[in-house]
Symmetry: C2
Subunit: 336 residues, 2 copies
């Protein structure tokens, strides 16, 4: 089977966006704003939004199961305060849960967290518990920069984040490191901020002892690891100059890269540089790039094609398409 | 001949660092701080600092000429105010000029600018003029984030920067987009901030009409273009979704990438994805990564080896090693 570890619910019915707009309109006086119960989306609407989009493409492209989380750019943790994010995350995660119930063979949830700038990460734990215990979610998305491009939280290696890590270890769930919309005019959201965050997180892990403190923790760096594989020599050399162990030993027991790299040469580099054990298949469709590549005639984000066309052997492809995801998302229960 | 378009004076005599430390100690009352004239470095000291380091490695590795600028991480534009940066840039550029005079065949200057957070870029023009007219410098380093990792200036596409661009066009000098030390704990300077800035600048150019306003302007994005070539499909797709022209047409008349990518697979990807006309040889030695790669037995930053070992044809290699640099740095006068 083929497991896509990186999908967001980018096609949710418009009522969700409208609810959020009203929430934002009432930030100054939330009691006048919408209640969670005011959001009305029927099962039929959910079904339609998935069947005509993600599920259709999964069938066309031949992937079987998507680890599915709320739309990343809509998390927008920088808006409002903890209560704003808490209500919004709960609503978004519940929708994912409903999609999961409607399509139990094809979608399983990963949680958006109710992060808010400057608010202690332990405030996210109740939502994580709810998503794992009640909804059966198998992972979380952790935003290293809830400020949205101003980077005001401590690095991911800081003890600030440890309560979340303790919860991840307790449930054995991985975190995908995933920022949201940039509200800094310097950073285009999907063209700069996402990739920068991936590279930044990689370097935060590299310069830390986090994986000594949490030997079983697992992180997925999306978008093919940002700039990390392309500059793998630079990172190996930086680690060496700092007298750190080789990257494989220092990081690759805990770090995974997804395959959201939208052309053949990029995927070929990823597969060449990073061991197959540390790569998870992903497409992030329907996401940042939605067009057809005129050079190939196929969608940019149909990443399965690049992996199939690579010179990787069948055993390694199977790891990337399936068995690594089952290992990393260990709570995933897949019908055999 | 082989022209290395990206070298910094990382080996300047310690007196320079000491002078800067004293300048920083007196930020609150600069009149008590050191004067420019207090910096005493003899020609012999300069000669030794170059002969034992950059020149030695240039001879070993077979490069002939380095476009040489002040140490990037020491620019630290976030420290002090415009006057602080102005004095510091003048001192650093003068040292480069002296190196250039001592080794006129091997080094030519590129200017550090006296940027300061929030200060209008036109304040840098006198230093550019001085460096070009008096020192014969052939380029500048432009810092898109003088705040040092807080990204508080407008994007490079904003008219805020246009006075510098007008000066660049007037002299036909390119700018290398190069940040300095990160004072944001999230960003490791050489492992995250540098690469993020490259990707950020690339996306700022992509989403702008800058090259319509300045059809002859030239920018070099260092460190192999950050994440841009690895994610070239993503960027092609983003541009397409925005109904922009193909990247080649939209950007590659004005943008160049250097070869500071420290392993063979990364260079191979760069050479495969980016047209040879848009690649400039560079090593940034003695810079971010100084060790020997145990996988090859050669220094990580000996980038000439990777290009030589690539499957590029001889004509394209010649462009990358020599003729592109002569075209982009058009003020370069090289003995034929």
């Amino acid at each position: 089977m083929i497991i896509d570890c990186h999908g967001h619910y980018t096609t949710a019915p418009k009522a969700l966006e409208d609810w959020r707009a009203r929430q934002i309109d009432h930030l100054a006086n939330p009691s006048l704003g919408p209640k969670a119960a005011d959001l009305k989306i029927s099962d039929d609407e959910l079904r339609e939004s998935i069947e005509a989009n993600q599920l259709k493409k999964m069938r066309e492209r031949g992937s079987d199961l998507t680890i599915f989380s709320p739309r990343a750019s809509f998390m927008a943790h920088h808006i409002g305060d903890f209560n704003t994010s808490s209500t919004w995350a709960a609503i978004c995660n519940e929708l994912i849960h409903r999609v999961n119930r409607l399509f139990p063979q094809q979608f399983v949830g990963a949680a958006m967290l109710p992060q808010s700038p400057g608010v202690k990460p332990e405030t996210c734990i109740p939502e994580i518990k709810r998503c794992v215990e009640e909804y059966g979610f198998v992972g979380i998305n952790l935003n290293p920069d809830p400020s949205g491009g101003h980077w005001r939280e401590p690095p991911l290696s800081d003890r600030w984040w440890y309560p979340i890590y303790e919860t991840m270890v307790e449930y054995d769930i991985p975190a995908m490191v995933h920022v949201s919309t940039s509200c800094n005019a310097c950073f285009h959201t999907t063209g700069a901020h996402y990739l920068n965050a991936d590279t930044t997180a990689f370097m935060q892990f590299l310069t830390s002892n986090l994986f000594k403190d949490f030997p079983t923790i697992k992180f997925v760096i999306p978008h093919g690891g940002g700039a990390a594989p392309y500059h793998w020599g630079r990172f190996r050399g930086l680690a060496q100059d700092m007298r750190l162990p080789p990257l494989k030993e220092h990081l690759l027991g805990n770090l995974y890269f997804d395959t959201c790299v939208y052309h053949q040469p990029g995927i070929d580099l990823l597969l060449k540089v990073i061991p197959a054990d540390n790569i998870l298949f992903a497409s992030e469709m329907i996401g940042a790039v939605r067009g057809i590549d005129p050079e190939t005639g196929f969608p940019y984000d149909d990443t399965r094609r690049y992996i199939e066309a690579s010179n990787l052997n069948a055993a390694d492809k199977q790891k990337i398409f399936e068995s690594n995801a089952k290992r990393v998302f260990s709570r995933l229960k897949v019908a055999q």
